[in-house]
């Protein structure tokens, strides 16, 4: 039986974190969180000092996504807290379990416009799953336990706990709660699969539409068994990549704005779409009224609010995918449809025979994908390189591809890779980035240096904000507004300044050797590849257009 112990608020925080199995946290100290950092000094929890609170938040997100554990980040009040906000919004959009701890000015000073005071509790309402402000030391442990439970239960998400400085300093004698007794309290109505089975068994052209919820539910095995039993052709969202075995002959690739032609055509033609942990996001559906126009919908989800939100579900299966997917796993007689999908996949397969001497980013990414160790974790930033990575790299698990999906946050990739590397120290971690995104959290090179994290950085450099430039060319009459980055710093010198080995290549003939050198290097490494500034991401479904009307070239 646990005995009573004397704590300060700060030391109680770390005791509760340890109760929840937290070994690593990411953060940045400051005035209103000093008692917590003082308690950290005596704690067994390992702290990773990031060089910006946004970096700490994204590292916590990367840690959570790569490991399946809760990511934890710390920041002080005021600007420290506001710097966390983008990371929390990112975690909310992608349903990532993060607990963020912010220091706050003392309770007596709250509401007085004190130095470094901001109402982060108020700010948190729109960018967290839930939030707390602790104003009584007697509530602290209970609130922290609840924060972890909320972050993990049902549809996962970020939770913020704001702790005023006097609460961090306050003393309490308490017994820690047995966290094994904390249970998932999500209540859902009983599932009736009868109608869904009827829809499934009568479908002639069904397609399985896989989203990020599969990985979040830890239901990859159940999904693959379901796909194998039903023999359904499958497509994936950006966040669902890795859930379906990419070598599965019935897997057609990513759907949506930059999806494969085979995936989009199959979805547009299907008569039944089985959505699993997916939410009919606008980047997936294109013009919603014309998305899968002939299809009835079976929608599996843990979140009631996603049902009928963007598309009416003929059958809704609410609850745990690990339980519900096996209930619908029945063999289907759809051989003609499968053959048609497989033909389309072969006909529309990617080609890497790009003419000329310039480096072709899709080919480089495909080569890295083939050569990287099996359990490599790839993070991306946001833009053209992100879509090329999603299109041309293969992932065998959702925890091996971390990309900012819902929020689309530039600056995500590098700190997320740091978090992933901390959570999986023996696995290869590669941050695929662009020259625009890289500069958004470039200060985190210092975190890599400090902890000697062997993160590999593939910097795809076109001296442009490439995706915005592409859209300006295609949809804004070529009026290139503020997308030129030709005054970028010397990235090789920059990396070298952080003791990170770096190399630049400019020709296709240099790719194989450089990729091998990067992957073989023991420590951190930056490989910059120079690509043609006019290279575009294809296919592209123009805005407010049906997915079968994709552009494939200019």
């Amino acid at each position: 039986m646990a005995s009573e112990q004397k704590h300060t608020g700060g030391s109680l925080l770390f005791s509760v974190l340890q109760e929840h199995g937290v070994k690593h946290v990411f953060g940045y100290p400051g005035g209103a969180i000093m008692p917590i950092y003082d308690a950290l000094y005596d704690s067994e929890v390992e702290h990773f000092l990031c060089r910006h609170e946004q970096g700490a938040a994204f590292s916590a997100v990367g840690y959570a996504r790569a490991s399946g554990k809760v990511g934890v980040c710390l920041a002080t009040s005021g600007p420290g807290a506001t710097n966390l906000i983008t990371g929390l919004a990112d975690a909310l959009a992608d349903s990532i379990p993060v607990v963020a701890i912010t220091g706050q000015v003392p309770t007596g000073a709250m509401g007085s416009d004190a130095f470094q005071e901001i109402d982060v509790f108020g700010l948190s309402l729109a960018c967290t799953k839930h939030s707390f402000q602790v104003t009584d030391i007697n509530d602290l442990a209970r609130v922290l336990h609840k924060a972890f439970a909320i972050a993990l239960e049902g549809r996962q998400g970020p939770v913020l706990v704001d702790i005023p400085k006097d609460i961090q300093l306050a003393e309490i004698t308490t017994t820690l709660e047995d966290v094994s007794k904390l249970r998932n309290k999500v209540k859902l109505p009983p599932v009736d699969v009868g109608h869904a089975i009827s829809l499934l068994s009568h479908a002639k052209k069904p397609v399985l539409y896989v989203g990020g919820g599969v990985g979040m539910a830890n239901a990859v095995d159940e999904l693959r068994t379901f796909a194998k039993t039903t023999n359904l052709p499958s497509v994936s969202t950006l966040k669902g990549l890795g859930a379906i075995d990419p070598e599965d002959e019935n897997y057609l690739g990513m759907l949506g704005m930059h999806g494969t032609k085979a995936a989009n055509l199959a979805v547009q033609e299907c008569d039944l779409l089985i959505a699993v942990g997916a939410r009919f996001d606008d980047r997936v559906t294109g013009k919603l009224d014309e998305f899968a126009p002939n299809a009835k919908i079976i929608h599996f989800d843990i979140d009631t609010a996603e049902i009928n939100k963007r598309r009416f579900a003929d059958a809704a299966i609410l609850g745990d995918l690990k339980v519900n997917l096996p209930a619908l796993a029945i063999p289907l007689a759809i051989d003609d449809w499968l053959a048609s999908c497989q033909d389309s996949k072969i006909t529309n397969a990617w080609r890497y025979d790009h003419p000329g001497e310039n480096i072709y980013a899709p080919a480089v990414l495909n080569e890295i994908s083939q050569k990287m160790p099996k359990n490599t974790c790839v993070t991306t930033d946001v833009g053209q390189h992100q879509m090329w990575a999603a299109q041309h790299m293969l992932f065998n698990d959702p925890t091996n591809f971390l990309s900012s999906g819902g929020m689309g946050t530039m600056g995500f990739g590098l700190p997320a890779a740091i978090g992933a590397q901390v959570s999986r120290p023996t696995d290869c971690v590669i941050a695929v980035t662009g020259d625009g995104s890289f500069m958004m959290n470039v200060q985190e090179l210092s975190t890599i240096k400090r902890f000697q994290l062997p993160v590999k950085i593939l910097l795809i450099d076109n001296a442009k904000l490439g995706m915005v430039r592409q859209w300006q060319d295609l949809f804004f009459n070529g009026r290139l507004s503020e997308t030129d980055l030709s005054d970028n710093p010397d990235f090789i010198m920059l990396a070298t300044a952080f003791d990170i080995k770096a190399k630049e290549i400019t020709k296709k003939s240099e790719v194989s050797e450089a990729v091998a050198e990067m992957l073989d290097h023991n420590g951190p490494y930056l490989l910059k590849i120079k690509i043609d500034a006019q290279d575009n991401v294809w296919p592209l479904v123009p805005p407010n257009t049906a997915n079968d009307k994709m552009m494939e070239s200019i």
């Binding site: 108020g122 729109a126 839930h130 909320i150 009631t304 609010a305 939100k309």
Partner: protein, 85 residues
């Protein structure tokens, strides 16, 4: 534009009213009236929220139901109506 009345029961916790109002605004519902009271014995708050929108009220009901401190959300059909505003 339709007008709806939601009857909401919630735990009397920090900023629960702000959370409900933020969700209503963000999801595209104009607030045309609100009353709120708390039973100090049970610490349960009762909120009557009048909202207007062209969107389905189910969207708002589902999103308010997701808030952690919410116990129940119902639409009072007798007080809801289609209006031309």
């Amino acid at each position: 534009m339709n007008q709806y009345q939601l009857n909401i029961k919630a735990d009397d916790k920090q900023v629960v009213l702000e959370r409900i109002l933020q969700v209503a605004r963000y999801r595209g519902f104009l607030i045309s009236g609100i009353t709120a009271s708390v039973n100090t014995g049970t610490n349960i708050g009762v909120i009557e929220l009048m909202v207007r929108s062209e969107r389905s009220i189910d969207l708002l009901v589902d999103q308010i139901n997701k808030l952690i401190d919410i116990k129940e959300v119902t639409v009072d059909n007798s007080a809801s109506q289609e209006c031309s505003a």
